[in-house]
């Protein structure tokens, strides 16, 4: 351990902490995980033993004295309260996405970071995917020309090993697949196309959280696109960007891309350079994310998702939910009068 090693506390010991944050932080130089906090103290203790973390506490306040920075991987509705408390205690924060459930909470977090001069970064880990970076570079180099339209699909039968039920309650999760996967996908589109405005939105939530939905948005340059997300069906997990010069069909999670020039029927398909094996190595991406966060804390140039950017994603989702059109599943035929 070096003298200037940054002492990190991790609050929330659910699946994302166990699978990604802790394995990634272990690899990062110049930082040390000093404490874990979770009201389910036994779970914090188990992870502390597994990852060699010296302290495990139930209440995050108990750990604040001994750390410089905190990773917050909590039920969404706790992001604002605990995030603001940590920032006011002078701790830098890496907040799991979504930044918060509402724009008001996002603003309160941003204000707390400013007032206390602390880094508030958001774990938009997909930004470090090779394909996401590559597409951003290609677009700024004008490879596709002017973007006219785009489509994004991502869906699969839900399998995340959630340790608590906050994910499935509107008051705690803030929403369903759009608040969860959508926070990633919309951030990725913002990286590529800039700010987005809502055109329309429909989902299948009937008082709970949506499992399947479709959003239509417009980019600053006037391109309209559709984002279709699902926890119930396998979608193609790809993004299609249609430009004046070429169409790009990219699968960010597979690192594959097909580029088809506008006047050609034949595309060029391949793997994005610098990609890993077929499945993303998430621990490595989380490591890169942590390294960039630590650089930002040390006031070095860093590639982080700033809270102000994440706020824009939440603004879009919040507006979508407010303007939601509810659509029942195609299979939900009435039982009363069925077959008549």
């Amino acid at each position: 351990m070096t003298v200037d090693s940054i002492q990190i506390g991790v609050v929330g010991c659910g699946a994302v902490t166990a699978r990604y944050h802790l394995p990634a932080l272990r690899r990062v130089a110049g930082a040390r995980v000093a404490a874990l906090a979770d009201p389910a103290l036994e779970r914090a203790r188990i992870l502390a033993a597994q990852f060699g973390v010296p302290r495990a506490v139930a209440d995050f306040q108990e750990m604040l004295d001994g750390v410089d920075a905190v990773v917050l991987a909590l039920p969404h509705h706790l992001h604002a309260t605990i995030g603001i408390a940590a920032l006011r205690a002078g701790k830098h924060v890496l907040m799991e996405k979504p930044l918060a459930n509402t724009v008001a909470d996002c603003d309160a977090l941003i204000a707390a970071a400013r007032e206390n001069g602390r880094v508030l970064a958001v774990a938009q880990v997909r930004r470090y995917l090779p394909a996401v970076r590559a597409v951003r570079d290609w677009l700024s180099a004008g490879l596709l020309g002017d973007i006219a339209a785009f489509e994004v699909e991502e869906g699969g039968v839900y399998r995340w090993p959630a340790a608590s039920d906050f994910f499935f309650r509107r008051e705690t999760a803030g929403g369903g697949v759009f608040m969860d996967t959508g926070a990633h996908v919309l951030d990725m589109l913002r990286c590529w196309l800039g700010d987005l405005t809502l055109v329309e939105y429909a989902d299948d939530a009937a008082g709970g959280v949506e499992a399947d939905g479709e959003m239509r948005v417009r980019s600053l340059c006037g391109a309209e696109g559709t984002i279709r997300l699902s926890r119930l069906r396998d979608l193609r997990n790809r993004c299609v960007l249609r430009g004046s010069r070429a169409t790009l069909d990219v699968e960010p999670l597979n690192h594959r891309a097909t580029l088809t020039p506008s006047r050609s029927k034949t595309g060029l398909a391949g793997t994005v350079e610098g990609a890993m094996d077929s499945a993303p190595d998430w621990v490595t991406l989380f490591e890169e994310q942590a390294e960039n966060w630590l650089k930002a804390i040390r006031r070095q140039p860093a590639e982080i998702a700033a809270a102000e950017e994440a706020r824009e994603t939440i603004r879009l989702i919040e507006e979508a939910y407010a303007r939601r059109r509810t659509v029942a599943g195609v299979w939900e035929r009435p039982l009363i009068g069925a077959g008549a």
Partner: protein
């Protein structure tokens, strides 16, 4: 008795709260949707793991996660006067393990129903508890002989335990035995569509076995009727559709959805021989087929196997295309159907499925009609139309 209209059943349900155990599954998901959505009945969903809760979570209902063998979980979910719908079953383990687990689950649920003074327990069993049926009709008086089938044996252990407790202890349990459940998310829809897309699906009994198919929503209807029907405690009911199709018709509906020709109707002895050959073979048969053309030794191995089915598979792999197509047409007895490209793997029924698919038995739903007022609302055409709409949405068939 005069059958209640579904609207009256819904009205009766609204007087209680419904606790769905196993709400993360195919039937459980639809039970929750129908209750919390269309019927507006207070619902509690109990799921084995939270990762199965996405569908139920669309509704503002209470979701409890955990094992139904844990009394604390059931106590959190069930209150006095509730109707409990039990859709759980042990999905893993060998036959003995599943039988043991099913009995433990049944005992735990029965104890909770009594402890919490629930009004009714509707337990979903299966036609598989009867095992292979050779008779021409099947009703609830038939012996339960699930044989080696771990699924059927587990289910039988569960229903037997609950029926015993109903008889001896007055447990208010009703057992439903659905047949081949198809429709949205159902295994008998997702499985066949995948098989037909990927390979050639072999049907025994030349495809003329009786497929006692039931559309998912008809099972839901039966569950709701069983929840409110009078004087049916301790009874079991087979639940199936009207006028069962043959397996060739059933799979044929999926073939049309996909726009493929991937069915191969064979005689049962040949399919059995092929299964035996497969069992003897060190590696799965389809992998042999893939390697046939390049591996002469392998070809000799296959040729040494006696079954007619092998000859067919060889013909498909080795014959010139035109001769292959003529041969397939003859086998298929489906004039005009476009033959599939050679080289696709054969999808044989599993031994348990072979018995089901070769059976001539028509399931009688007379008892459910008489005692529950059950009347299937979907025939095969209607059910498959609804299924097609879902399958297109789910991306399982071309739009």
């Amino acid at each position: 008795m005069r059958a209640l209209a579904m609207s009256a059943v819904a009205e009766a349900l609204r007087g209680s709260r419904i606790v769905a155990l196993g709400a993360g599954g195919v039937i459980g998901g639809r039970v929750v949707e129908a209750l919390a959505g269309e019927l507006g009945v207070e619902t509690v969903a109990v799921v084995r793991t939270l990762s199965k809760a996405a569908r139920a979570a669309r509704f503002p209902i209470r979701i409890v996660s955990g094992d139904v063998r844990d009394a604390g979980i059931l106590d959190r979910a069930i209150s006095e006067g509730d109707i409990v719908v039990d859709l759980t079953y042990p999905a893993e383990g060998n036959r003995a393990e599943r039988v043991r687990a099913a009995r433990e689950m049944a005992d735990s649920i029965a104890a909770a129903v009594r402890r919490r003074r629930a009004r009714r327990l509707v337990h979903l069993s299966t036609i598989s508890v009867y095992g292979p049926v050779r008779a021409l009709t099947l009703d609830e008086s038939a012996p339960r002989r699930p044989g080696a089938d771990p699924y059927g044996a587990g289910k039988q252990a569960g229903e037997r335990e609950l029926l015993r407790l109903a008889r001896e202890d007055g447990l208010p349990a009703v057992i439903l035995q659905p047949t081949v459940v198809y429709g949205p998310f159902a295994g008998w829809t997702v499985g066949p569509l995948r098989q037909l897309r990927e390979g050639i699906v072999v049907l025994p009994a030349r495809g003329q076995g009786i497929c006692n198919a039931v559309y998912l929503d008809d099972v839901i209807q039966a569950i709701f009727r069983a929840a409110v029907a009078e004087a049916v405690e301790g009874e079991a009911f087979l639940i199936s559709g009207e006028q069962p199709p043959t397996w060739l018709d059933f799979y044929g509906a999926y073939e049309r959805m996909l726009g493929v020709s991937s069915l191969l109707a064979m005689d049962t002895a040949s399919v059995r021989a092929q299964l035996n050959a497969q069992a003897k073979s060190a590696r799965p048969f389809r992998r042999l087929i893939h390697r046939l053309r390049s591996d002469g030794d392998l070809r000799q191995t296959i040729l040494a196997l006696p079954a007619l089915a092998q000859a067919y598979a060889l013909a498909r792999a080795l014959l010139p295309r035109a001769r292959w197509e003529r041969a397939k047409d003859r086998w298929m007895k489906r004039g005009g159907a476009a033959p599939s490209a050679p080289g696709r793997p054969l999808r044989l029924p599993r031994p348990i499925q072979l018995e089901l698919m070769a059976s001539p038995a028509r399931v009688s739903i007379e008892k459910a009609r008489r005692r529950l007022g059950f009347e299937p609302a979907y025939d095969l055409d209607q059910g498959m139309r609804a299924t097609r709409e879902w399958a297109a949405w789910a991306g399982l068939i071309p739009e």
